[in-house]
């Protein structure tokens, strides 16, 4: 069973709320939790969610450590889709682990 709630952790988050980040565009053959539409996109940290096991490791029954900080990243829909037909202030928020983020 997963650990209850956000594990207490000494992991220091690299990014603060409001920081501009780019979601890595790298490809990954293993199980991972970054959908392709978000790869390479630039957004803003909406909140820091705590540190969790790395999904690329626990999917294969390995220890998930070192834990990775998880963030919610806010993206503008018009940056995601060039033909977006909603309103210009529509957004999308997605959970991304720190090892998939770079400063932008």
């Amino acid at each position: 069973m997963p650990e209850p709630r956000v594990p207490e952790s000494s992991v220091m988050p690299r990014f603060a709320t409001g920081a501009r980040v780019r979601i890595s565009a790298r490809s990954e053959g293993r199980h991972h939790r970054v959908p392709s539409y978000a790869k390479g996109r630039i957004g803003v940290i909406e909140r820091v969610c705590g540190a969790y096991d790395q999904p690329e490791l626990i999917a294969y029954r390995c220890s998930g450590e070192p834990l990775q900080t998880l963030y919610r990243v806010q993206l503008n829909q018009e940056d995601l889709w060039s033909d977006y037909e909603g309103a210009c202030n529509d957004t999308l928020e997605i959970e991304i682990f720190e090892h998939w983020l770079e400063p932008a």
């Binding site: 939790r33 705590g50 995601l80 309103a87 529509d90 999308l92 928020e93």
Partner: protein, 212 residues
């Protein structure tokens, strides 16, 4: 086989689902039977687990929403720490973080899991088939307003539509706006207006019927 496991078939599993129609469903049935034969768990334990899962429906989430509508302190707590606030109502918040997303006159929230079908099951029960469909998962991130329109939900252009892709550890519950003309309603009456879809974000809470 029966000589080696004389008690295996004393309490065989009775099917809970329709006849399997695909290879994967058949594989699931076979695996379940094998685990029972190997006494990893019993048929009675499996039945009890299914009953427990099926005992949860969206009335759990609706209670949380109705309390937030009637008690501003509770609402503040719910938005700050969904897990603790749910527990406070005597409900099981599960083992993952519950993040509550408040709809306002400026922002309409809608939830999806594009990678699989992450869903706040302990608040809403089992997800509907459309939530797990490839069509919903691929389209609501790309054309959310068109998808909402298909649910009968028109969001004005000056309201931000905010899609939440539940890709990792958090689970999301939308706190819909309290409908107009509900000032005189009790918390129990308000619960009736909170639909499952309004807590996913594909619909608004129901309007009160004229009679009440």
């Amino acid at each position: 086989m029966s000589e080696r496991h004389p008690h295996t078939h004393r309490s065989p599993p009775q099917p809970d689902h329709p006849e399997p129609s695909s290879d994967y469903e058949l594989l699931g049935v076979a695996l379940n039977e094998l685990l029972i034969e190997k006494r990893i768990y019993t048929a009675a334990e499996m039945r009890a687990t299914i009953e427990q899962i099926e005992s949860i429906d969206s009335s759990h989430g609706a209670r949380v929403v109705a309390r937030a509508w009637t008690d501003p302190d509770y609402k503040a707590e719910l938005l700050a720490d969904g897990f603790a606030a749910v527990e406070k109502l005597g409900l099981d918040p599960g083992y993952v973080e519950l993040t509550v997303l408040e709809n306002t006159p400026q922002v309409h929230n809608v939830v999806v899991c594009t990678l699989c079908s992450c869903y706040p099951r302990l608040m809403l029960g089992r997800p509907p088939v459309w939530y797990k469909s490839k069509a919903y998962r691929s389209r609501v991130v790309r054309e959310p307003r068109a998808v909402l329109r298909e649910f009968g939900t028109e969001i004005p252009k000056d309201v931000e539509v905010r899609v939440h892709d539940s890709t990792a550890e958090l689970r999301y519950l939308v706190l819909p706006m309290r409908p107009a003309n509900t000032d005189g309603l009790s918390e129990d009456e308000l619960v009736e207006l909170v639909t499952r879809d309004s807590m996913i974000g594909t619909a608004l809470a129901e309007a009160p019927s004229v009679a009440s």
